[in-house]
């Protein structure tokens, strides 16, 4: 892989030039694929009930965006424009099959929880969007960086939403109970920690609609900090 990168690098341009760094950092904030470009929400929200699911899903998407951008960018001059969508779909589907098989082999529990949503990475708009908008028109190395940036932007948002949902919905993070245990034991009829004071989990956060509202609020916060992102109507 490193050979391909070296060849594609423009002569004289450092590997991490300012322009290339921007490719990674931009999607993390001001052109975030989910909140600004509105791509990839399809499979994003259903699997954010737990942080660990969000991380695994995010990493899978990072892998697929990087590899998909690399392959399509390397093939971009050979793909006839009329059938490019099918070619892109086949490349992405092959990558997703790899991800799915690896998850099923090494993380069988998470794999069964993610169920169809791993397969739905194929139709995740981020991947097709970046392939169409960036990889078809750029050299492999910038495409890899673009894939990394957008994948991380997506993963970051997933984890952020998942933190809210897991903390308020089940009182834990990554499966570790942070707020004590809601199960009553001797001397503590309401449970331990915060629960002993009468705190209760908000089950609303575990249900699907809350994911949408959390993303809506994240968009709200982001756009009130950066007025140039606001829409006119």
């Amino acid at each position: 892989m490193s050979e391909v990168e070296k060849k594609s690098k423009a002569p004289g341009e450092p590997l991490f030039s300012k322009k290339n760094k921007k490719l990674i950092t931009d999607p993390l904030t001001d052109s975030n694929p989910v909140t600004i470009q509105v791509l990839g929400i399809c499979s994003a929200l259903a699997i954010t009930v737990q942080v660990s699911q969000g991380i695994v899903m995010g990493l899978s998407v990072v892998f697929v965006t990087i590899m998909g951008n690399l392959v399509i960018s390397a093939l971009r001059n050979m793909i006839p424009s009329k059938i490019r969508i099918i070619v892109q779909l086949v490349v992405v589907a092959a990558l997703v099959i790899i991800v799915d098989q690896v998850l099923a082999a090494f993380l069988p529990d998470l794999s069964s929880k993610l169920s169809v949503f791993v397969g739905l990475i194929i139709t995740n708009c981020i991947i097709m969007g970046r392939l169409e908008a960036f990889a078809m028109a750029n050299k492999p190395w910038p495409s890899v960086l673009d894939g990394l940036g957008n994948g991380l932007g997506y993963a970051g948002l997933l984890v952020l939403v998942a933190i809210f949902r897991e903390l308020f919905g089940s009182g834990s993070l990554m499966g570790y109970p942070l707020l004590g245990s809601p199960i009553p034991i001797d001397g503590h009829p309401l449970g331990t920690g915060l629960y002993a004071l009468g705190y209760m989990n908000n089950n609303m956060f575990v249900l699907p609609p809350m994911a949408l509202i959390i993303v809506g609020v994240i968009i709200w916060v982001q756009r009130s900090r950066n007025k140039s992102l606001q829409e006119t109507h």
Binding site: V38, I41, C42, A46, V90, I219, K227
Partner: protein, 235 residues
């Protein structure tokens, strides 16, 4: 097993593609600015789902599933091609969309005028591939069940996108805080609509209704009849 009608109603309301699984959100958000375009895309989704899911069902049951190749001969009975399902499903969806586009253009030009621009969009709409993958995961017993699931999901998606488009047309005249305008408020409204749709989860379907009746009538009926009930359940 659930009846075909149960599956149909369930996939429209309590397992709605948008509000319960967030499938097809990208086009849902992008094409819901006016009711007219929303109706066009919604109709196209119903159509494509109802065509692709039965085709994928046949593919799954006669080629991909473990032991599905039995009809070719006993030596193929051990084959399990299910790892190929993603690539096969997406290829089927993309080629059927392409085929439908050509057929509609040739034989129904007026329909093409209405649906035409939306059809290419649909190949990458998550709800279509999602429909195929849910069909695979839930293992519907007949092709009729799979088709009714697909048709119901399409109708559920249609209802969702037309409803949000109608709301967005009105919200344009309201005083929404500037940072929430456009995307933000659409997310929050969708969340609220999702909560509304969750009330449909209380619907009782065929088998559950019978069970509930039994529980309700059991104390009033004689003990001997109760025993026959239990025996029926055991069978």
């Amino acid at each position: 097993m659930e009846s075909t009608l149960d599956i149909f109603v369930k996939s429209i309301f309590s397992e709605n593609m948008i509000f319960a699984y967030f499938l097809g959100m990208c086009s849902y958000l992008a094409v819901s600015k006016t009711v007219k375009t929303a109706v066009g895309l919604g109709a196209a989704v119903i159509f494509v789902l109802t065509v692709t899911v039965p085709v994928n069902y046949l593919l799954e049951n006669y080629i991909l599933k473990a032991g599905a190749l039995d009809w070719l001969g006993p030596e193929y009975a051990e084959m399990d091609l299910s790892f190929l399902s993603f690539i096969m499903f997406i290829a089927v969806v993309a080629s059927i969309v392409q085929l439908v586009e050509m057929l509609v253009e040739k034989f129904a030009p007026s329909l093409y005028g209405a649906l035409g621009i939306f059809l290419p969009l649909i190949a990458v709409n998550c709800s279509i591939l999602g429909g195929a993958l849910f069909m695979q995961e839930r293992q519907y017993s007949t092709i009729l069940d799979a088709t009714s699931f697909a048709f119901g999901s399409g109708i559920g998606w249609f209802i969702a996108i037309v409803a949000i488009a109608a709301i967005r047309e009105k919200v344009r005249y309201s005083h929404v805080p500037a940072p929430l305008k456009g995307l933000g408020i659409t997310f929050i409204i969708t969340g609220l609509m999702g909560m509304g749709f969750m009330s449909f989860m209380g619907i009782k379907y065929g088998k559950e209704v019978k069970k509930a009746d039994k529980v309700a009538t059991a104390p009033t009926s004689k003990p001997t009849i109760q025993i026959t009930h239990i025996n029926k359940d055991q069978k």
